[in-house]
Symmetry: C2
Subunit: 420 residues, 2 copies
């Protein structure tokens, strides 16, 4: 009788889930990777899709394609609706059940409107390709509506763009929006004066990029302002509707037909299925080995995990952290199968890097801080490096020629489930 191989289930094909699955490539196990999209997304460049700089296929790769040679892995396209840690069963939409011996939950994060879910219709967030294409359409249509509008106040409202949240995504979005309004669209319209366009970056706290050293925040702000962005810190949004936003309790109005939400992130609701303590942001509090209390075979990694990573500080929700967690969780699963002591997760921080617009960025690598063009070159290098590592995507350069001579098709990306 052949011994049945251990079943490992991974929920989520983001950076963490992918890394864990790859780490298990040569193990004698049966891996099932479940994701609700058919593609892995290179999220650091998602804002480029939202701002029409890149096409969707340029930053996404079919998960099946990534794992086509990894014979111990089965990809399932589907939405996980329930996790039963007692029965060790995961349910996928339409009722299909998957049994596991070890589970990695890596379903990431979504955007949070702090209890104001009705804001979502006016101020979409940026997490998926669908989101990015929705924001792209809104931005492009805003200029079209301004072009055809004859009422001056409404025309201006169509030319006003508000990005809410001064974190890296908000900064990238605002910088690129300014570039679109003041540079890209130059000469294209006959009935609007693009110099009247306003791009506002709205941040509730004292400064943008609060996770960075204060001097780099200040540099980022002055770089954004040079691009034409109005940076409004200490502006708490109190309402959003189809015509603009309100600030603070006094309700100061800012007219803006186009609003982008880059303020709040909430952990994936799947964390609630595990029946263990969550932190205030809905993240699952994991142990040193990234497993959850009482279930040593269940691991939570990436943006969904609240890990203190050895030094007591909460590990940030960034892709290098997710990858590092993925490797440790994979190793610990194999150690668990043979009853060996598990590894402790310790986050290695390689620094922080945010791009502000064309040829400008800030970087804090250990004790070294730099900004401007050198930081932007560094940002470009890092992203091209990881895009190549992730196989497909500097390849956007040679996609067409390549696709013709090989049999690969890089654009096999399902966007949403409705029409288109």
């Amino acid at each position: 009788m052949v011994a049945e191989r251990e079943k490992i289930l991974i929920i989520g094909g983001g950076f963490g889930g992918l890394e864990a699955a790859k780490k298990l490539a040569s193990a004698s196990v049966e891996i099932t990777l479940i994701d609700r999209a058919n593609h892995h997304l290179f999220q650091p460049l998602l804002y480029q899709v939202a701002t029409a700089g890149l096409s969707s296929p340029a930053i996404a790769a079919p998960i099946r394609h990534i794992f086509r040679k990894q014979k111990n892995l089965d990809v399932v396209l589907g939405e996980v609706t329930a996790i039963d840690v007692k029965r060790r069963v995961v349910t996928v939409a339409e009722g299909r059940e998957y049994r596991y011996d070890a589970l990695i939950v890596a379903s990431g994060a979504t955007h949070s409107y702090f209890g104001h879910d009705d804001w979502a219709q006016y101020a979409p967030g940026l997490k998926t390709l669908d989101d990015a294409l929705d924001i792209r359409r809104r931005i492009l249509m805003a200029f079209e509506c301004a072009e055809r509008e004859t009422d001056p106040a409404l025309k201006q409202a169509w030319l006003n763009f508000a990005v809410i949240g001064g974190g890296p995504t908000g900064v990238e979005m605002a910088g690129t929006l300014a570039e679109i309004a003041y540079r890209t669209l130059q000469d294209e319209f006959r009935h609007i004066d693009l110099s009247l366009a306003r791009v506002m970056l709205i941040e509730g706290s004292e400064r943008i990029l609060a996770a960075y050293p204060a001097d780099l925040s200040a540099k980022a702000q002055s770089q954004l302002e040079r691009l034409g962005v109005e940076v409004k810190t200490k502006h708490q949004v109190s309402a959003i509707d189809g015509d603009g936003i309100s600030i603070g309790s006094a309700g100061e109005r800012i007219a803006a037909k186009t609003v982008v939400w880059a303020a709040g992130v909430a952990a994936s609701p799947l964390g609630q299925q595990l029946g263990v303590p969550l932190d205030r942001a809905g993240r699952v509090i994991v142990g040193d080995d990234l497993s959850i209390p009482g279930y040593p075979e269940v691991y939570v990694i990436g943006d969904l995990a609240a890990s203190t990573g050895g030094d007591g500080k909460l590990v940030p929700g960034v892709s290098p952290a997710a990858k590092q967690m993925g490797r440790i969780a994979a190793a610990n699963i194999l150690l668990g199968f043979v009853d060996k002591p598990k590894l402790k997760f310790s986050y290695k921080d390689y620094g922080a890097l945010a791009t502000i617009g064309r040829r400008s960025a800030i970087a804090a690598i250990g004790k070294i801080k730099f900004s401007g063009f050198p930081a932007w070159l560094f940002w470009l290098f890092v992203h091209i490096y990881f895009l190549i590592g992730f196989r497909s995507r500097l390849m956007v350069l040679t996609d067409w020629a390549w696709a013709y001579w090989t049999y690969e098709r890089h654009a096999r990306i399902i966007i949403g489930t409705e029409k288109r």
Copy 2:
């Protein structure tokens, strides 16, 4: 007093409308170009978007961008709802009216289901980027559904693909589908045997590519069969539903969950607004100068025009014909303004070219006929040449690097008006 410049209205930003507008670049006139999409589409490669070989932005360019330097031209994004040739007014959705001194109607063609409009939901046609992305999603989801289906008959139905119509689009689609099933997806699925996939090309008449010489049709068929396509000629489709198609009056069933419609083309309904005789396919019967009877200032060009082009034969609905008509209509408008005799349109046929799949094609250039790899190389050369001519598109090769150093953003493509 400054004399008011003559107003020229062009409906449609396809090959014909674009060419006419460019031809008028240095004329002292006011041009308005109206299109319901914000982009010009390089339709000859649309099947590549449907089959995920290219991203949407790779074959589309914003019309505003194309004409940003042409100061006598105003682009209007909108759907024309009425043409009043007596009042010389065109109405765009939402009631905006545009007056003209001369009009070019170049609104092209759409697909026709020969009175069976209910077939559209099961068998989408391929005319717009929306169509292409819809077909792409259906194709990719079919393999996913086959992968998760446990009933053998249903599994097979998901693996059966029927392309209806053996013209160039049908041939390209079927060839590429076979390539996807038998090559591209290799190794990616664990629960389906891709060698069981069937790609059927269904044609009602005696042979595929009926517009080509018979020996080239036969070559195309054998090339398709070598790729694995089942070519079924003399198969008249009598019904289409969610499970497959019926053939002939006996109603022979072919199970296929994925059906693509490449059979019928109908002229744009705007032709009916002109109040002049149409041919059986709904095309506007134009005079030698491409104007319509009784209205020498109204021209119809491209797929919407039924022109006999000098030699008495109907000019085919292909892009070179549309471009040639666009040039003549533009010239005739200017001649009309100064009461000079107009030019007669005479179609110059450079030959026909159809690709069948990877590295295979057929070509008939004047008396020269060739097929296989040389024809494919020629096809590739011609398409790359016209893509470059059309400014953006071999540029897909260098898009990313280019977009970073210049301020152009090639992906500014609005797809549809709903979400995404």
